[in-house]
C-alpha cells in the first residue's frame, strides 16, 4: 500500500469520526438519539475504560478495540479517532494553507519522558484515590467535548437563531429559536485557556500536546512500541534527505540517526507520502529482523517520585481551599440567617456525589444532550476535585420528570444507565422551604409556583392565614428535580431550593390518594 493511499484513509476516517462527534455536542435539537450517540463515542478511550470499570459490560468494550488496533497498527486512535487529535491536524492544515512557505517546518525533538510518564501516572493515581479530576483535565476526548460544547454549540445556536429570526420575520415560524439558559463563566474561561494552549502548541509544534501532555497518547504510545506494524526507516533505500523528519507532526523521526520513536508516532503517514524514495515504510515488525532501536524501558527515578509527591500535596491543599470558597447560596435575605447549599446536586443515575466525582471526565456530552439545560458545568460547587463536572443548575432550569437522557448518553459510566421508573423515584436532593422569603408570608398574597411545578406534589399547599395557602415540603416524595426552585419567583433569593444528597436515595411514590371514583350521570343537568 502506498503512503499517500494510507494517508487518504487516515484523513477520511478522521473526518468520519470528527464530524459526528462534533455535531453531537452542537446538537441543540436532539436529532441524534442516545443509542447513536453511544455509538459515536463508543471508541473514545478514556471514557470507555471508565465505563468498563463501572459496568463491566459489552457496552464499554470500545477501549479493548482500541488496544487491539494499537497492538496491530500503532496509535491509529490518535491519528483518526481522537477528536482532539483531528482538531490539531486541522490547525496544522490551516497553518499550511496560510503560510505555504513554511512547509516542512518540523524537526526532531527529544522525548520529554519524565513529563509524559508523570502525566500518565498522576491521573491513574488520582483516579485510584477516588477522583477523576486529572483524567478530566487531560483526557483528549473530554477536552474536545468541552471545546465543542463551549464554542461550537453556541455557534450552532447562533446560526439557528439567525435562521429563526429570518423565518419569524416573515411569519413562517419554520425554525424555532433556541435560548441558552445559562452561561458558566469560569468553566468557559478554563476551557478557553485549554483551547488556546492546545491550538498554540499544535500551531508551533504539531502534535506536541499528544506527545508530551496527553496520558492516552502516552499509554497507547508505549503500547505501540510493540505493535505489529510500524513506520520504519529502511537503511538501504534512505537518502538521508531528512524530509520525513521535517514532515513529521509528531516530531518523532530522528533522520540523523535514522531512528523513529514509535511511542510518539501518531500514524499520520505524511513521512511515507513525502519520501522521495521508499526509504521510510510501514512494515511488519514481528517474525523478522527489524532495525528499529528499542527505546529505553520505563524507569522511575527519584525526581519523578518527588514530583508526584509535590503535585499530590498541591492538589490536596487546593481542594481544602475550595471547600472554603464554595458558592454561597441563594437564600440570604438581610433579615434571615444566610443559608448555604452544602452539596451541589448531581444528576440522577450518578448514585452519589463521591462516585460521580470519581468517574466523570467532564466531557459535557450530557450538558449538550440535556433538553432542559439544567445540567451546567460547575466550578467549585462540588469542591476542587469535581471541577468542571456537570451539576444541576436550578436557576437555569430544572430536571424534566420523564427524562433520563443524560444517563443514556454518558460515555464514562459516571451517570449510570437508569430505568425511567426508577429515575422518577430517585432522590438526588431535597427541597428546602425558606418561609421568610416566601411571597405568601412576606406579601400575604397567593403564589404557589413551586407546588405547581412539582411533579410528585412533594411540595404541596396547606392552609395559611385567612384564605391563603402556603407551601409545605414532604421529604419522602421529593426527588430533588429543582422545578420548585426554578419556578420560585422571589428575588434575589429563592424561597425554596434543593440541597443535594451526597448519596442518592429512593423517594416514596405518592400514592396516599386512591383512584378518584365518581359516578357521573351524563344525562344530568348542568349545575348552572
Amino acid at each position: 500500500m502506498s503512503g499517500s493511499f494510507l494517508r487518504k484513509i487516515r484523513i477520511i476516517v478522521s473526518i468520519i469520526f470528527f464530524i459526528p462527534t462534533t455535531f453531537l455536542f452542537a446538537d441543540i435539537f436532539s436529532f441524534i438519539p442516545p443509542y447513536l450517540s453511544n455509538g459515536i463515542v463508543y471508541l473514545q478511550f478514556a471514557p470507555s475504560v471508565l465505563k468498563f470499570i463501572a459496568l463491566l459490560s459489552v457496552s464499554s468494550f470500545g477501549f479493548l478495540i482500541i488496544l487491539i488496533l494499537t497492538i496491530l497498527f500503532g496509535r491509529v486512535y490518535c491519528s483518526s479517532i481522537c477528536p482532539l487529535g483531528t482538531l490539531q491536524d486541522f490547525v496544522n492544515w490551516i497553518r499550511g494553507k496560510i503560510k505555504r512557505s513554511d512547509k516542512r517546518r518540523f524537526e526532531f525533538l527529544n522525548e520529554q519522558k519524565t513529563l509524559r510518564l508523570s502525566l500518565l501516572i498522576i491521573p491513574i493515581l488520582v483516579f485510584v484515590f477516588g477522583s477523576s479530576l486529572a483524567i478530566n483535565l487531560l483526557d483528549p476526548y473530554s477536552i474536545y467535548g468541552r471545546f465543542a460544547g463551549n464554542f461550537f454549540r453556541p455557534i450552532m445556536v447562533g446560526l439557528n437563531n439567525i435562521a429563526a429570526f429570518v423565518s419569524d420575520r416573515f411569519k413562517l415560524y419554520a425554525v424555532y429559536g433556541y435560548d441558552l439558559k445559562a452561561f458558566t463563566l469560569i468553566p468557559f474561561i478554563i476551557t478557553t485557556a485549554f483551547f488556546v494552549f492546545v491550538v498554540v502548541m499544535s500551531w508551533i509544534k504539531g502534535r506536541l500536546y499528544c506527545n508530551t501532555v496527553c496520558p492516552v497518547g502516552t499509554l497507547l504510545g508505549y503500547i505501540s512500541k510493540f505493535s505489529l506494524f510500524k513506520i520504519v526507516i529502511k537503511n538501504e533505500d534512505c537518502l538521508s534527505c531528512g524530509i520525513c523528519a521535517k514532515e513529521c507532526r509528531a516530531n518523532c523521526i530522528d533522520s540523523d540517526n535514522k531512528t523513529i520513536d514509535t511511542s510518539r508516532c501518531v500514524m499520520c503517514f505524511d513521512c511515507l507520502t513525502n519520501c522521495p524514495t521508499n526509504g521510510i515504510v510501514l512494515d511488519r515488525t514481528y517474525f523478522k529482523h527489524s532495525n528499529i532501536q528499542s527505546s529505553n524501558h520505563v524507569n522511575l527515578d527519584i525526581n519523578k517520585r518527588s514530583f508526584l509527591f509535590k503535585s499530590s500535596v498541591f492538589l490536596i491543599s487546593l481542594s481544602s481551599l475550595a471547600a472554603q470558597i464554595q458558592k454561597k447560596i441563594v437564600v440570604t435575605k438581610p433579615s434571615t440567617k444566610p443559608v448555604f447549599r452544602k452539596n451541589a446536586v448531581s444528576p440522577p443515575g450518578s448514585v452519589s456525589i463521591d462516585k460521580f466525582n470519581g468517574k466523570c471526565t467532564a466531557c459535557h456530552l450530557c450538558v449538550s444532550a440535556c433538553p432542559t439545560q439544567v445540567l451546567q458545568p460547575s466550578f467549585l460547587e462540588y469542591g476542587f476535585l469535581g471541577m468542571l463536572q456537570p451539576r444541576m443548575d436550578n436557576i437555569a432550569s430544572f430536571c424534566n420528570f420523564d427524562c433520563k437522557i443524560c444517563s443514556d448518553v454518558c460515555p464514562t459510566g459516571a451517570i449510570l444507565p437508569i430505568d425511567l421508573e426508577k429515575k422518577k423515584l430517585t432522590q438526588i436532593g431535597k427541597a428546602i422551604f425558606v418561609k421568610d422569603n416566601c411571597i405568601v408570608q412576606t406579601q400575604k398574597t397567593d403564589c404557589g409556583a413551586c407546588s405547581e411545578h412539582c411533579p410528585t406534589k412533594a411540595v404541596h399547599m396547606i392552609p395559611f392565614e385567612g384564605k391563603l395557602f402556603i407551601p409545605e415540603t414532604r421529604d419522602d416524595y421529593c426527588i430533588g428535580c429543582g422545578a420548585c426552585e426554578f419556578a420560585c419567583p422571589t428575588k434575589p433569593y429563592k424561597a425554596i431550593y434543593v440541597e443535594g444528597n451526597r448519596e442518592h436515595k429512593l423517594a416514596k411514590k405518592n400514592v396516599e390518594q386512591k383512584k378518584l371514583e365518581e359516578k357521573i350521570n351524563y344525562k344530568e343537568e348542568f349545575p348552572f
Partner: protein
C-alpha cells in the same frame, strides 16, 4: 352505522341553550357586544370532545360567526406540561384538531398555535399530542420558549399588572381563541380560561410575586378572546396543575364554549364543584 355516526346520534346535548339564571347573573351579565348568536355560553356533555364541539359551535351559530375568510387565527390551548392526554394536564388534542378544522372550514387563512410551557416546551408539544394534532389539521405550531417572541404591551385598566410581554402570534392575529382545560390548581385552586392566558406572556414570575389573582384579572382586560372553549372531557380534580398520576383524573365528558371569559370560568367552576366566589380572580374580574 359506523362509529362516528353512532356517537353523533347518541350525543346528549343537555344544555345547549343555557339562559343565564339569576343567582349567577353577575358573572354572566357581561355579554360581548359582537355576539351574533342568541347565546353567549353553551355547555355540552356526554360525547367525545371533538363531537361535542361540533354541537356547541352549531348552537353559537357556527364558526363563521367568529372566523371570517382570510383571517389569521391564534389558538391558545394549555400545553403546559410534559404529560400524556389522559393525564388531563393539557387541552385534549382531538378537540384542538377539530377546532382548527372548523376555523379552516370558516375560511381562515392560517391557524397558529402556541403556549409558553412550564415543562420543556418540545417535550410538552410532542407528548401532549397537540403538536401532531395541529400539524395534521393543517395548523402551524409555534414555539413560546424564547423571549424574542414576546413584545411589550400596556394593560390600561390593570391595577397590579400594567404592562406585559405578549407573544407576537397573538398580537398579529385577527381572531383569538382561548382553549383551556379545566383542572385543579395549587396556586389559584382552579385554572380555566383567564388563568390559561398566563401562557401568552413571558414573565409569569411577576404575576406570582405581585398578587397573582389581581394580575390574572388585570390581564383579562387586555385582549378578550373571541371565543373560549373550556375542555372538561378529562378533568384533573386534585394535585393540579401538573397532576401526579392518572388517578387524579375523572372523565366528565363536558365542554363549555363561551364568548365571555368570566362567564366561562364561573360556569366551569360550578361544573368542577367550586363556587365561583371562592376563586378570587373570578370575583375580581367580575367586579372589574
Amino acid at each position: 352505522m359506523d362509529r362516528r355516526e353512532f356517537l353523533k346520534q347518541s350525543i346528549t346535548v343537555t344544555a345547549a341553550s343555557v339562559t343565564i339564571p339569576g343567582i349567577f347573573g353577575n358573572y354572566f351579565a357581561k355579554t360581548s357586544k359582537i355576539l351574533p348568536a342568541a347565546f353567549d355560553l353553551v355547555a355540552v356533555k356526554g360525547g367525545e370532545a371533538d363531537v361535542m364541539f361540533d354541537d356547541a359551535i352549531k348552537a353559537l351559530g357556527g364558526m363563521k360567526n367568529f372566523v371570517k375568510s382570510n383571517q389569521k387565527v391564534c389558538l391558545k390551548p394549555n400545553i403546559g406540561w410534559d404529560v400524556s392526554p389522559e393525564r388531563a394536564g393539557n387541552t385534549n388534542p382531538k378537540l384542538v384538531s377539530r377546532v382548527i378544522k372548523h376555523c379552516f372550514d370558516a375560511g381562515a387563512k392560517e391557524v397558529l398555535v402556541f403556549d409558553h410551557t412550564c415543562d420543556n416546551w418540545r417535550r410538552c408539544y410532542s407528548n401532549s399530542g397537540i403538536e401532531k394534532a395541529v400539524k395534521d389539521a393543517g395548523g402551524k405550531i409555534v414555539s413560546g420558549d424564547s423571549e424574542n417572541y414576546y413584545q411589550d404591551v400596556s394593560v390600561k385598566s390593570g391595577k397590579k399588572l400594567t404592562n406585559a410581554k405578549v407573544h407576537e402570534v397573538l398580537l398579529d392575529s385577527n381572531v383569538f381563541i382561548n382553549m383551556p382545560i379545566l383542572k385543579s390548581h395549587s396556586s389559584t385552586r382552579l385554572t380555566i380560561a383567564m388563568k390559561n392566558l398566563m401562557g401568552v406572556v413571558w414573565d409569569r414570575g411577576y404575576w406570582h410575586s405581585n398578587d397573582l389573582h389581581q394580575c390574572i384579572a388585570d390581564y383579562a382586560t387586555y385582549r378578550k378572546p373571541d371565543l373560549n372553549i373550556v375542555d372538561a372531557y378529562y378533568v384533573m380534580k386534585r394535585n393540579g396543575p401538573r397532576g401526579v398520576s392518572v388517578d387524579d383524573v375523572t372523565t366528565l365528558k363536558s365542554q363549555i364554549v363561551s364568548t365571555d371569559m368570566v362567564a366561562a370560568d364561573a360556569a366551569a367552576a360550578k361544573l368542577f364543584g367550586i363556587e365561583p366566589d371562592e376563586i378570587s380572580y373570578i370575583k375580581i374580574a367580575n367586579a372589574m
